[in-house]
Symmetry: D2
Subunit: 357 residues, 4 copies
Amino acid sequence: MKRIGMLTSGGDCQALNTAMRGVAKTLFNAKEQVEIYGFLNGYQGLIYGKFRLLTGADFAGILTKGGTFLGSSRTPFKTIREPGEDGIDKVAAMKQTYYKLQLDCLVILGGNGTHKTANLLREEGLNIVTLPKTIDNDLWGTDMTFGFQSAVNVATDCIDCIHTTAASHGRVFIVEVMGHKAGWLTLNAGMAGGADIILIPEIPYDIDKVAKKIKQRHETGSRFTILAVAEGAISKEDAALSKKEYKKKLANRKYPSVSYELAAQLQEKCGYDVRVTVPGHTQRGGSPCPYDRVFASRLGSEAAELILKGEYGFMVGYKNREIVKVPLEDVAGKLKMVDPNASIVKEAKLLGISFGD
Amino acid sequence: MKRIGMLTSGGDCQALNTAMRGVAKTLFNAKEQVEIYGFLNGYQGLIYGKFRLLTGADFAGILTKGGTFLGSSRTPFKTIREPGEDGIDKVAAMKQTYYKLQLDCLVILGGNGTHKTANLLREEGLNIVTLPKTIDNDLWGTDMTFGFQSAVNVATDCIDCIHTTAASHGRVFIVEVMGHKAGWLTLNAGMAGGADIILIPEIPYDIDKVAKKIKQRHETGSRFTILAVAEGAISKEDAALSKKEYKKKLANRKYPSVSYELAAQLQEKCGYDVRVTVPGHTQRGGSPCPYDRVFASRLGSEAAELILKGEYGFMVGYKNREIVKVPLEDVAGKLKMVDPNASIVKEAKLLGISFGD
Amino acid sequence: MKRIGMLTSGGDCQALNTAMRGVAKTLFNAKEQVEIYGFLNGYQGLIYGKFRLLTGADFAGILTKGGTFLGSSRTPFKTIREPGEDGIDKVAAMKQTYYKLQLDCLVILGGNGTHKTANLLREEGLNIVTLPKTIDNDLWGTDMTFGFQSAVNVATDCIDCIHTTAASHGRVFIVEVMGHKAGWLTLNAGMAGGADIILIPEIPYDIDKVAKKIKQRHETGSRFTILAVAEGAISKEDAALSKKEYKKKLANRKYPSVSYELAAQLQEKCGYDVRVTVPGHTQRGGSPCPYDRVFASRLGSEAAELILKGEYGFMVGYKNREIVKVPLEDVAGKLKMVDPNASIVKEAKLLGISFGD
Amino acid sequence: MKRIGMLTSGGDCQALNTAMRGVAKTLFNAKEQVEIYGFLNGYQGLIYGKFRLLTGADFAGILTKGGTFLGSSRTPFKTIREPGEDGIDKVAAMKQTYYKLQLDCLVILGGNGTHKTANLLREEGLNIVTLPKTIDNDLWGTDMTFGFQSAVNVATDCIDCIHTTAASHGRVFIVEVMGHKAGWLTLNAGMAGGADIILIPEIPYDIDKVAKKIKQRHETGSRFTILAVAEGAISKEDAALSKKEYKKKLANRKYPSVSYELAAQLQEKCGYDVRVTVPGHTQRGGSPCPYDRVFASRLGSEAAELILKGEYGFMVGYKNREIVKVPLEDVAGKLKMVDPNASIVKEAKLLGISFGD
């Protein structure tokens, strides 16, 4: 018999339930008997021993349901070695729960932060298998993460809706897309929604070039301009600052986000009415799209296969259209960013999209 | 032969194109020959004589397209009697265009502000037929406006998406729904999306009752609370202020909107993490829903019937499931608000929804 | 304390769960204590005593879920007085279950057939409150049924999809919409989807007029024609037959449905390639649209109010934008059909839509 | 200056307009001057010289529109060398149009049949660049075709809708998914929709194993079973027949498609009510999904790059996440089928899905 723990950590996204269903169905269909313990609200459940034994009924009908039925929470890696407010030693507590339940393996679904902690637990001797969850698609070691395509769909729907109103009123619209560090989501939603300007963290922008593009469009008869702007979009000027200086500048910014600052700057430079839309957390929500459902199901069943074979210490990823296992130590602490020279960026530019660079 | 002018004014919404197609198809199918002149960007096109003769091709394929192919603009009624920046007498200019083109009638699609100007033009002697367009559903004289149901759908989708993420993280979420004066959109989207608390302009809220409801929910095991809040939601305190005092207070508010202010207050009072989502202009955009398509088509064809019969000075409205003509002087300057004692409000409360009152 | 039974009967539709949630939330929020017993699979559960006590958890998260968590079945009214295959006296068995459980009232959600049985149970002395569920919108005594608008949305989506392929290939397409007796769904989806021809049971068609319309369109430059055809669409010829003759003819029809027969006839008469699409049961499925969610929630809470007041023997309906109670004896056995002279039919014709009459 | 011809051929699909916009935007943004001639209705336009010079306006607003604004038609490769009904030599006529217009290159968007003709034209000396369009994803030489993911979405929506009704009534449902030769669409939509049984042409089924799976499910408490069945699903028995014998058998089949035959067989073998849904051409229609929009835009711009560089004789494809050029002679006449031993099939089986093998 195998005893498996399972948890979802970090910001939620679409297809978390799908992936867990994939793991569980495969385990329950295996010849070996398996028990699955679900920890509530991410690493918190592991730390404080909050869990329950899961049965087939827990996984029925969740293929298409957004969110995570186990709940999630952010447990910052930075402070994982520090005692909690209640004085608890978090790492020790997690290990204790693991050993007390005599687990053979922990299945952890999460993004970048989650993987750092997962790798730490591996280094501490626990058996870990992880699944790459994030709407940002910025996990190192996998071409794709689940949640990403569903989030692209939500953000694109938003740009589609803005398109009709922008065209009717002859306005400039900024749609702020999630992504503080990586621009994958903004880039794809921007291209899919027909944005005229795309600003992402990896390609710092020159505000004057952005303004020029807008003016050019309006001078050549286009009544409106749509900008897809990542939360982490940054000007060339700011990109030249030290990390510390930039953080300080951000902290003093009088606008709630880069989009509002950009709107004010562009309104001044161009003279057009600039509006901001922030779909925000809707990008994480709703039913996973068919692509994510198939993808997360496949990853989940392969994760179960690893567990059944006793191969631990891996993230189940996707490379060159093959499902692969990637050593956790290779994944943890790295980010997969948009390469400014990537083929997709070149193609976007050929289509006439400006990155403000 | 009949010569008809057509324009769309004010904030755009779904089914404007649908309604215009309804008018045009019916006119083009009539025995009498008809010419339709489309004015660009609302009353601006009428003032400055910017128009073009429309043909069947202009109305092909637009049944399902959001926005307005004629463009729109806001032309404030307050200053309609004042000369423009260019010194132009706006009312005189509109009349001049009308008579120069020898129009038999102007078809005007718009909301509250638009109807005030439309009625003024009627008083000035022009033949006018109007159609009730607004996502706010606050036009007097009609049970329903087109755009409303489509906007309810967009706002509800947003709440649906937030539901999964709220449930996963155990958070309080505020979804800010459009509507500065009337709460129809927030009320319907809130009920459809399963919001726990709905705040609308017509029912001023007590912040302590709102906070209490949230705490009660969390104490009885609900991990999250969703608030649907209208842009114009107002506290009992603020509702007691004079209009002038309230405007002054709003101008000094350090938050971009009521939702952000509420979030700060509730976070302090409850201690939970409160997040804000602002779908904004997406609520006006995208393809009209089937309900609006049928409704706007019907209104459009009845407007054409009035024109063919030479019955002018009416808005085509909807009362008790019948399409009716409503004298413009009855419509202009009035608003249709949610009655705090209405059946639907009572039912929402029976379902356990709090209005904070 | 009140003891309430609840069941859903007949073909399922969207918002059944929503309506039951509305009833239950209102009952559970009432001062009086209430127990709700859910019968499984419609009247079958009542006949065979298959039920369970429902709790708040049963109604959590079902606002947006299609189908019915209680299950449903068709229990033909025609044979309700005849013994079942197992020799059971169905009516007696239903009464026995009712009295054994000491129920104060049965809440029954269903369409036409369901209401006949519900009324029979009322006549037998049981306390009954019903809710009008059907995608057909053909229940007498209410302007609207829940499920209808959601089904319109699904059928319209289907026509929208067909539009692009029809336009690309220059073909004639028939979309077969649900509705054996009433044409509401076909009429509304047809208008919303921009169908060129709409055939419904209430307006028998002349095949030559249908063919003529198609030829006219193609001769005047339209590359395609879309027909929205109700399952129960009928030719003038067939409408003239006696019911018995028509049934016999139908039984011998070599096509699976009227659409396939029409396709063959039109292909022969016009020479164009005619394709058939049958969305079928998808029209009953999926998440209820926001309109249905609000509507069903409101009806549900009003049904609960009636129960709490002890007012039995009614269907909760909707007339002239008011929620009303309609005596069951008035509802049972009647149908609400499309009036060929109704305003909406006239408007559809003004828009250029042919009904083949 | 470059003179480019463009046509879309074969069954339409989503993102054809998107791809053409990608080609045109890139060409119009190039330094060199370019003229694009659009041929109407596929190869027919090339044969009969029906074309028009396209401008920027033709490509505006079509990113999100389904279908093809150029129209399409099926021009069977089998008879391409035979004279048409009007005695015309089709190949000679196509060449004549090409040379008369002094084209530098023809951009052809199509699937398998289209590529055979495209390759023939290349052999005849014309400069050709093609784009891989098909909802079937069965083109050799590319990991992905545009239209596929959008079709998966439509078919999955259909299965999602059926899920709620199947669960409510405890029935067996067959959803017939497009695909006569390849099972990609059925496999992906089936997995995404949570089908219990998936039948595809590449994996012949044993009807008794299918029936057994259904019975097993019902015996272990599942109230319903959903089958995703490809149009070209085939039994082991039939797969053993010679091609000629099978064609003969198909011609005599009394059911309109395999699904209806299966339904009859399973109803007899299992005793459950089996229903069939045929989404049909809706799978080709509607707005392309964001994935297809990005993908088709990228392919289109790379096709334009090839043209600008004068590299002809290629299909622009996608291999291992790179956009590649594939020699037309390698593509023509081959099919990319689902490998019964592929990883995705194994994973589907691990999830408990039966292929009836």
